[in-house]
Structures are given as structure tokens and as C-alpha cells.
């Protein structure tokens, strides 16, 4: 038998009239951590379910362990060797059962002998650090813990292949890193094969090999570096003096220009770093000039967007701008939180939170699940009365003049809460009416939102039929229909593909820079935190850091050292060596190691002793900042 665990050829699946996936050909080797990367609706789940033998498919061939999965009986015969963890936080677990009861049930379901089950359970609960929570009902676990428990239950019968469908979606960055760490260890120590999907592009480096999926097709597959090589190019960033003008100048020449706080980041195809930096400098010098140039290699997301550029047809957001409403009190900050606090019974959800957001500023609120972000937003938008403290929106006190505040703010919640059974224009008209716009205004704003969201052609389509990216822009349009001066966005980009996400941030950029709207954003995507002018990091209901992204990175570098990537054939084997040397900030990324340490020279020396290893400095990301900060705080709180 060949060492292929999964082979598919021309695999296709349709639901009614909708073709979910088609023409998928891929192969997963034994002992490999294989990734499926793509946004919601890319067809990842259909493929994974078929692999696990829980979904019939329509066309092509699919072999798992060399068995053709076309017939039910054949699919049944390999199920003992497979473990499936379906999508959704703790969805496959039983909420009313305790951690231990869940594990025991899965062991019995899989007929694991008692002795062996006990042994494995202890080991897995130990690895996942769930052993202390064994009597807690599953529904009371945090998102990250639920996913770890899901992993334990999937592994209890020692399958040879595990299929994990978006195990990290909706999980905060710390738990996400933790999860990958555990998964990488288990895969390497038990010789498992794993097929794992994710919607986060920045998790791509975790996989040995992967397939990039979009709208039911595979765009590319191979090792991360092979995929990166498909669209060679460099990324240049700088701080322009006139950001709007500079952005326009770059956008005229390059397809991928992003504003990250005061910076601009541009993907320059084909050129190497120096050449790219030169080309960008020339363009920007003609548009006001810039400082603090930096360049680096393209990331997977850039490549993904570039790969799509040819085939992607979804309408891009129009250039309409949110014509400013009557200016508020210009002197007052747009949002002020003053010692906000909220208790639910004994539980303190938010305590003593203060911050200010100026007009035209993009303010990011970061934090793990349950850190209090959503509660803080709910208090500032008047959904939830604070237990103590207060806030002002454009100088108006929330508690005293709630009605006035409500008509000045826009709010877009986590799930783009649109009425899915209403059409696009019905949704917009509804919100226009709710905010009491006059008839003439309603017609004008309907037009504006359709233009902004690029939905003119789809005005009479049900919201349920829109892809996620368009739904999100529609939700944004609905939140903007009454020209608010302040916009709250609670995880506005979950489930949206990178192209849609970039278009969305373009709109936000224009809103803040051109129209002076103040934006407060929470997000799980740490790459998005880079877009913010200012960040506040929440932990256990408090704000523990409040600075610009750059300052936060600098502070981390000060405290913990710089980030290095160790690559080479023997990189995984290098981890124990580092541990023995007392270097702790090590994480496994596919075939590479990421090491956070103060003494770069020592690391290089250690690596040199191994032979065949390369050490390279990497720029710290906001995710690094977030994870390290929160881990330190958790350790402190645990003590």
C-alpha cells in the first residue's frame, strides 16, 4: 500500500442546485498535518465530511486508507481508523455532560477496552490541561477548552487519521496557539495523519502541506513555501505624510494596498525587496512623501488575494463615501469610557475600563473570549446599563441622554445580524425607517448603501442568499444608514474571505480618514489589529495595555526579546535542545520553529551546532504580542 492516506480525484458535491465543491484532487500522506485553508463556503466541510465517511458525494473518486468511499459499507469499514471533529465550538460534545463523562462516552462508543481508555484519558487530559476540570459540565468550558476536549474525544480511540473541521474558529489567539501546539505534538509523537481546516490565513505556517480553497475549488496546494512561490513579490510598508493621497497613488499602480493605522502596506508583485521598496518610494514621493520604510516577504494572504485576482468576480465595494453628517461637538472626543464597570451577580465582567477614541480614529479592543470586550461595547451602545462608571458619545452622556446617543451611533454585531428572510433593500429600508429618516433621505441613503456595498444588482435578493462578504458589507451599510458619527464593530470580519476583508477595511479606512467617523473594533484576527490606530488589550475585564500597535510590539521586544524562525530538515528535533538550554518561547509552525528570545547570537550558535539549520529574524506580529501578554497575565492570575 502506498503511503497515501487520502486521495481524491475530481471530487465533487452538490446540495440541490448548488455545487458546493467540484473537481477537487488532492492527496494526503501518512503522518502529515495537512491543511485546508479557505473562507466560509469554500467547500472545506463537504470534503472533510466525505473523507470521514459521513457525507455522500456525487462525482469523482475518494480513497481513504486505499478504500474507495463511494459505497456506504466501504465507508463504514474504515471509520474505526478515523476520528472526526466537526465544525462549531463544542458542537459535537454534550453540553450537559461533564468533561469526563464526555470522554468516557466516546471511549465506550468506540469500544476502547476500559483499561486502555483510562490510560489514554489520563494522558490526553493531562496534555490538554483539562484534568482539573473533569467534573465540570462541558457547556461551562471556555471556547478553547471545548475545542481541546473535542480533540481528546476525537483521539480516545487512537485513530490513524483525524479530520478536524475549523477547530480554531471562534477561539481566542492564546487558546489557538495552545491548540496548535498540542496538535503538533500529538501528530508527531503518535504518527497521526491529520486533515485540518482553518479560515485563518495566518495559521497556514502550521501545516506541513496544504490546499488553498475558494468557492469549491482548490487554488493551489503544496508546502507553504511552494505556495508562496506561486506569486513572488515583496511587501513594502511606510508611514506616509498624507495617507489618503499616498494610498490613492499606490492603488493606481498596485492591486493590494492596505492602511494599517498610520502606515500603508503594499504588495509589489515579482520584485525583490530592495527593488520593490524603490518603486514604492518613487510613487509616494510624488504624493507627499513618507518615512519609516520597511519591507519583507509576501505572506500567504497576499498570495491568496493575488491568486484570486484573476478569477474573483465578486463585486468590489464602490467608492461612495459616507457623506459626513452634521458635525458633533468637535472639541469632545468621539467615545469616552469613564471607569466603566459591570457585574453579573458575583462575576465581574468589566471593571474600571477607561479609554477615549478621537474622531477619525480606528480603535481596536482586543482580548480573549470572556475578557469583557462585548460587555464593554454593550454598555457604550446603551444595550446594557453599567453597574458603575459611565461614558460619553461625542460629549453626550450615555446614561442621561440615551435616545440622543442611540441616533448618533452605528453598531454592527458579531453575526452581521441582518434579517436573512428580507431582501437587501428591505433590510436597508427597515433600518432607515427605524432611525426615523424622512422619505427623501430614505431613498438617498438606500442608494448610497447599495453603492457602497456594491449591491445594486442584488437589491432584491434575499440576504440569506448573499455570500458572507456581501452580507458583511450590507450589515455595515445598515449600521451606517443614519450617518452615525461613531461606529461600533464587534468582530466584523469573522467568516469573510481575505478579499472581502480587505475591501471591508478599505471602506472603514475611508470612513475614518475622509469622513472623520470614529470606529471602535473588536477582532479575533490579530492581523487585523494592525489596521488600528490605537489598541487596548483587555484581560479579565480590565484594560491591561493601551497603546499603538507599534508601541506594543516595541514593548514586547523590550521585555521578551526578538522573534526568530528556525528552519531546516531537522528543525523539529531542535526543540528539545532549546528547552534543555533554557529557552522557553518556542512554538512549532509546520516544519519550522518560532523562537522568542533576547539572545539572538546564542540561538544562532546553538543552531549552528546542529547543522543544516537556518536562523532568521522575523518581525513580531500583534498575535505574538497578544499571546505573550495574555499568557503572562494568566500565569500571574493563576498564582
Amino acid at each position: 500500500m502506498p503511503d497515501w492516506v487520502i486521495r481524491s480525484e475530481g471530487f465533487g458535491k452538490r446540495y440541490g442546485k448548488r455545487q458546493a465543491v467540484s473537481g477537487i484532487s488532492l492527496a494526503v500522506r501518512a503522518g502529515e498535518l495537512f491543511g485546508l485553508i479557505g473562507p466560509d463556503g469554500a467547500g472545506k466541510s463537504s470534503l472533510m465530511k466525505a473523507v470521514a465517511g459521513v457525507l455522500k458525494y456525487d462525482s469523482g473518486t475518494l480513497e481513504v486508507f486505499g478504500t474507495d468511499m463511494a459505497r456506504d459499507a466501504a465507508a463504514e469499514s474504515v471509520k474505526a481508523r478515523i476520528g472526526l471533529m466537526p465544525q462549531g465550538l463544542g458542537q459535537n460534545l454534550y453540553g450537559d455532560l461533564s468533561v469526563e463523562e464526555n470522554v468516557d462516552f466516546f471511549a465506550k462508543l468506540r469500544l476502547v477496552p476500559d483499561e486502555l481508555a483510562r490510560e489514554r484519558k489520563e494522558k490526553l487530559l493531562g496534555v490538554t490541561r483539562l484534568a482539573n476540570f473533569r467534573t465540570r459540565p462541558m457547556k461551562q468550558l471556555s471556547g478553547g477548552m471545548k475545542q481541546k476536549l473535542g480533540l481528546v474525544c476525537t483521539l480516545i480511540h487512537a485513530p490513524e487519521l483525524i479530520v478536524l473541521d475549523e477547530p480554531t474558529t471562534g477561539v481566542d489567539p492564546v487558546s489557538r496557539r495552545d491548540f496548535w501546539q498540542i496538535l503538533a505534538e500529538l501528530v508527531s509523537s503518535q504518527g497521526l495523519s491529520a486533515l485540518v481546516s482553518t479560515a485563518y490565513m495566518d495559521e497556514a505556517s502550521r501545516f506541513a502541506r496544504m490546499a488553498l480553497m475558494h468557492e469549491g475549488r482548490v487554488l493551489a496546494q503544496g508546502q507553504p513555501k511552494e505556495i508562496l512561490a506561486l506569486r513572488a513579490g515583496s511587501v513594502v510598508s511606510c508611514v506616509p505624510h498624507e495617507q489618503v493621497r499616498a494610498r490613492a497613488a499606490l492603488a493606481a499602480n498596485y492591486a493590494q494596498v492596505e492602511a494599517l493605522g498610520p502606515r500603508l502596506r503594499v504588495f509589489v508583485p515579482e520584485l525583490a525587496r530592495e527593488a520593490a521598496e524603490g518603486a514604492v518610494t518613487r510613487l509616494i514621493d510624488a504624493a507627499g512623501g513618507a518615512t519609516a520604510y520597511d519591507s519583507g516577504e509576501a505572506e500567504l494572504e497576499d498570495v491568496f488575494v493575488a491568486l484570486l485576482a484573476g478569477s474573483h468576480t465578486s463585486a468590489d465595494a464602490g467608492e461612495a463615501s459616507a457623506a459626513p453628517a452634521a458635525a458633533g461637538n468637535a472639541a469632545a472626543p468621539a467615545i469616552e469610557a469613564i471607569s466603566l464597570a459591570r457585574r453579573f451577580g458575583d462575576f465581574v465582567a468589566v471593571s474600571d475600563v477607561s479609554f477615549t477614541v478621537r474622531e477619525g480614529e480606528i480603535f481596536g479592543l482586543l482580548g480573549a473570549n470572556g475578557a469583557g470586550k462585548t460587555t464593554a461595547i454593550k454598555m457604550l451602545t446603551g444595550i446594557l446599563p453599567p453597574s458603575s462608571g459611565g461614558g460619553r458619545i461625542a460629549g453626550v452622556d450615555i446614561a442621561r441622554e440615551l435616545g440622543c446617543v442611540k441616533s448618533r451611533i452605528g453598531y454592527m454585531s458579531q453575526a452581521f445580524s441582518l434579517y436573512l428572510d428580507l431582501t437587501v433593500s428591505e433590510n436597508i429600508r427597515l433600518y432607515a425607517g427605524l432611525y426615523g429618516l424622512t422619505r427623501a433621505e430614505r431613498a438617498a441613503r438606500l442608494d448610497w448603501v447599495l453603492e457602497m456595498a456594491g449591491l445594486h444588482a442584488l437589491a432584491d435578493t434575499l440576504a440569506a442568499e448573499l455570500p458572507m462578504g456581501q452580507r458583511q458589507r450590507l450589515a455595515l451599510g445598515c449600521a451606517l444608514v443614519h450617518r452615525p458619527r461613531v461606529l461600533f464593530l464587534d468582530e466584523p470580519t469573522s467568516g469573510v474571505d481575505p478579499v472581502g476583508r480587505r475591501a471591508f477595511w478599505d471602506v472603514l479606512f475611508r470612513l475614518s480618514r475622509v469622513d472623520g467617523v470614529a470606529l471602535l473594533v473588536t477582532t479575533h484576527y490579530m492581523s487585523e489589529a494592525e489596521h488600528c490606530d490605537h489598541l487596548a488589550l483587555m484581560f479579565a475585564g480590565r484594560i491591561v495595555a493601551d497603546a499603538t500597535p507599534g508601541a506594543m510590539k516595541a514593548a514586547l521586544e523590550q521585555d521578551m526579546g526578538a522573534l526568530y524562525e528556525v528552519s531546516g530538515e531537522k528543525a523539529p528535533a531542535f526543540a528539545p535542545v532549546l528547552a534543555a538550554a533554557g529557552i522557553t518561547g518556542v512554538s512549532v509552525h509546520g516544519r519550522n520553529l518560532h523562537v522568542l528570545c533576547r539572545d539572538g547570537a546564542r540561538l544562532t550558535a546553538l543552531a549552528g551546532g546542529q547543522g543544516g539549520l537556518q536562523v532568521r529574524a522575523r518581525a513580531l506580529t500583534m498575535e505574538d504580542v497578544f499571546v505573550e501578554r495574555v499568557r503572562a497575565l494568566e500565569k500571574e492570575a493563576g498564582r
Partner: protein
């Protein structure tokens, strides 16, 4: 077939049911609650009928006639009414359900040996009550009428009153009430309520239980594991069958204890038949759950397909023999009627396996067919 797996699944299901408070209430409290509500709320015993009297005659005879009603345990005298207009208001306002009108000259006619007429006005809004009231009225009236005729004849002919009366009623009707000697409607109702509630509750619980697993995605654990369909169905449904068996015992206790219905038959046979019936109705829930996707759809569908046939076509209210041909066909096609025969037989008629093996056999076949259908329709690898 691995019993260990079946046991694990059943145990897990049981824990979930017990820990979900709303579901638990639905499983154990609702059947008992329905038994109380239906028992008292669907009872057709008509007693203490509030009534009023209009006596235009005001003679000794009219007072005596009126007193026959006032003294009856079936009627609850609310007072005298002035005239028909008054009577209309009383009946329309729901204060009385009947008004007895004695016209002027009532006493005189009777004294002179002429037939007399009275009138009873009855509220027909609730036809069943009106019918029963009419029955009471004509019984009391017949008695009093015979008395009056006998008195008159006895006075005229000089023969003793008792002889005259006997001659006026040469044929007496000896009525023997069988099975429900006291003619209490709760005796006939309560056993059939067991049938009704066990028709509503098990399919409802089962459909919800299975669809819940489908809706929240944990069914994929089953799809993805090597558990067989038979093992799954057995383990998943066993707790529901068990709960419903406990419920049938509970309902039996309520019928015997709370409503004092005599149980004359063979308990072992009753228990066996109840288990088969519960398996059958659980099977209905299974088939529904395989076909629908959401819990709300499961609720609606089970309600529609169980409740109406069980109320209308099972003999609960109308005997199957009095149904129209089409309705009778429906009744025979549904399991409820067969179990209704069994409960009525076991409770009131003292029947057992010897008389009732046929309906039991039908129920057993029904259960097998439903489970076979559920087994065939359930796929571990659905198309979507």
C-alpha cells in the same frame, strides 16, 4: 451488535435528559399534568346544572312539580325568574343553563284530568350538556307525569294507587350497566387518556431528542464512528421507551388512585401491551425525526400526526362503530384504536390476553414496521 455500545449510548442519552430541566419536565411532568388537565377538563359528567324556575301558576301542583327538580342532585336551583325575558338574560349570560317554565293553569288542568304542558328552556351552546340536561328533564318529568296520572285514576276508580301505577307502566325496563356500573364518565375517560397521552408524549420526546442531536451537530459523532445503525437506534431510543414505560405506570396509578377507576383485568397483560404501544409510538417519533431537520418542525409534525387522529379516530370520544366509513378506515389504520380497546378492556371489562391478543398483535406489527422504516430511512452517510 455490541451491547456495551448500546449501553453507553443509552446512558449518555439518559444523563442529557435528566440534566436538561425543561426536557426533564417535558418527559415526566407533562404527562402527569395532562392526565390531571384532561381528566378534570374533559369530563362530561354533568351535575349541579344551574337552573331557574318560572312559575306562572303558583299552585300546589306547580310547586310540587318544581320541587322535583329543585330536590334533584342533577340540578342546582338558582332562584325564580320573573318571565321569559328574564330567562333569556340568565341563559345568555351563562348564569343558568336551563329554565323551567310552568304556565298558568297547570294545576287546574291536572286536577281536571287534562294533560298539562310545561316547557324547559335549555342553553344549547354546549350541545353535549344540552343533551344530558334534556335526558335529566325527561326522566324527572316522566316520573312526575306517571304519578299524576296514577293519582287521578286511583281517585276515579277507587283502586289502590300502587296497582294503578303498575298498570300504567306494564313494562318496566331493567337496565344493567355493564363495565362502568356507576356510569361515571371519568371511568370511561381515564383509561383512554392513558392511550391519548402515550400517543402524544413518546413521539414528541423521541423526535425532539433525535432531532436535537441532528440540529446541534453531535449526530456526527455517530455518523463518524463504527457504531451500527441498529446499535444506535436501540441505544438512542431505549431511554425514551423506558421513560414512557415509567409514565404508563404513573398514568395507570393516577387512573386507579386519583380517579378511582377500577382495574378489573390482567395487569401483566396490560403492562405488556403498554410496552408494545409505547414502542410503537416511540417508533412514530423515530420516523418523524429521521425526516425533519429542526426541533420546531419535529414538534409541529408530531403534534399534527398524533394528536388529531388520537382524539378523533381512536374511540376516545366517539365509539369507532359510530364513525363514518372513511373515519373508521382511518381509525383502523392508526395504532391508537387498538390500544384504546386494550385499555378499556383491561380496566373496565376485565379482559386479558385471551380476548385482546388480536389488537396486541396489530400493535406489535405496527411497532416492527415503524422501526424497520426508521432503520431504513436513517443513513449514517446522508446526502446533505
Amino acid at each position: 451488535m455490541k451491547l456495551e455500545r448500546v449501553r453507553a449510548l443509552a446512558w449518555k442519552e439518559w444523563r442529557e435528559i435528566v440534566r436538561d430541566r425543561l426536557f426533564f419536565a417535558l418527559a415526566f411532568v407533562v404527562p402527569a399534568l395532562l392526565m390531571v388537565l384532561f381528566g378534570y377538563g374533559l369530563s362530561f359528567d354533568v351535575e349541579n346544572v344551574p337552573f331557574a324556575l318560572i312559575d306562572h301558576d303558583r299552585s300546589v301542583q306547580s310547586r310540587d312539580y318544581g320541587y322535583r327538580f329543585i330536590g334533584s342532585r342533577y340540578f342546582d336551583f338558582k332562584g325564580y325568574a320573573a318571565d321569559e325575558a328574564d330567562a333569556y338574560d340568565l341563559i345568555a349570560g351563562g348564569e343558568v343553563r336551563a329554565v323551567l317554565v310552568i304556565p298558568p293553569g297547570f294545576g287546574r288542568d291536572l286536577a281536571q284530568g287534562r294533560p298539562a304542558r310545561v316547557q324547559t328552556l335549555i342553553d344549547g351552546t354546549f350541545p353535549n350538556r344540552a343533551l344530558t340536561i334534556r335526558g335529566y328533564v325527561s326522566a324527572i318529568n316522566a316520573e312526575r307525569s306517571l304519578d299524576s296520572a296514577a293519582n287521578y285514576l286511583a281517585a276515579r276508580s277507587g283502586t289502590p294507587y300502587a296497582d294503578v301505577r303498575a298498570r300504567l307502566q306494564p313494562v318496566s325496563l331493567e337496565v344493567r350497566y355493564l363495565f362502568n356500573e356507576a356510569v361515571l364518565s371519568i371511568w370511561s375517560l381515564a383509561p383512554k387518556l392513558i392511550m391519548l397521552i402515550l400517543m402524544i408524549s413518546p413521539p414528541f420526546l423521541t423526535a425532539l431528542g433525535v432531532v436535537r442531536e441532528k440540529e446541534n451537530g453531535s449526530i456526527f459523532n455517530i455518523y463518524a464512528s463504527d457504531i451500527s445503525r441498529g446499535e444506535f437506534l436501540l441505544g438512542k431510543l431505549a431511554p425514551y421507551v423506558a421513560i414512557s414505560c415509567v409514565n404508563s405506570l404513573l398514568l395507570w396509578l393516577m387512573a386507579v388512585g386519583l380517579y378511582r377507576v377500577p382495574f378489573k383485568g390482567d395487569f401483566a397483560f396490560f403492562a405488556l401491551a403498554s410496552m408494545v404501544y409505547v414502542a410503537c409510538t416511540t417508533g412514530i417519533g423515530l420516523v418523524v425525526s429521521v425526516l425533519v431537520r429542526t426541533q420546531i418542525a419535529a414538534m409541529i409534525v408530531t403534534m399534527v400526526i398524533t394528536l388529531i387522529p388520537a382524539v378523533l379516530y381512536s374511540g376516545l370520544i366517539i365509539p369507532v362503530a359510530s364513525l363514518s366509513d372513511a373515519a373508521s378506515f382511518v381509525a383502523h389504520a392508526m395504532p391508537a384504536m387498538y390500544y384504546a380497546d386494550i385499555v378499556a378492556g383491561c380496566f373496565l371489562k376485565g379482559a386479558g390476553g385471551a380476548e385482546l391478543w388480536r389488537p396486541l398483535l396489530v400493535l406489535a406489527l405496527y411497532a416492527c414496521a415503524l422501526f424497520a422504516a426508521g432503520y431504513a430511512l436513517f443513513s449514517k452517510r446522508p446526502a446533505s
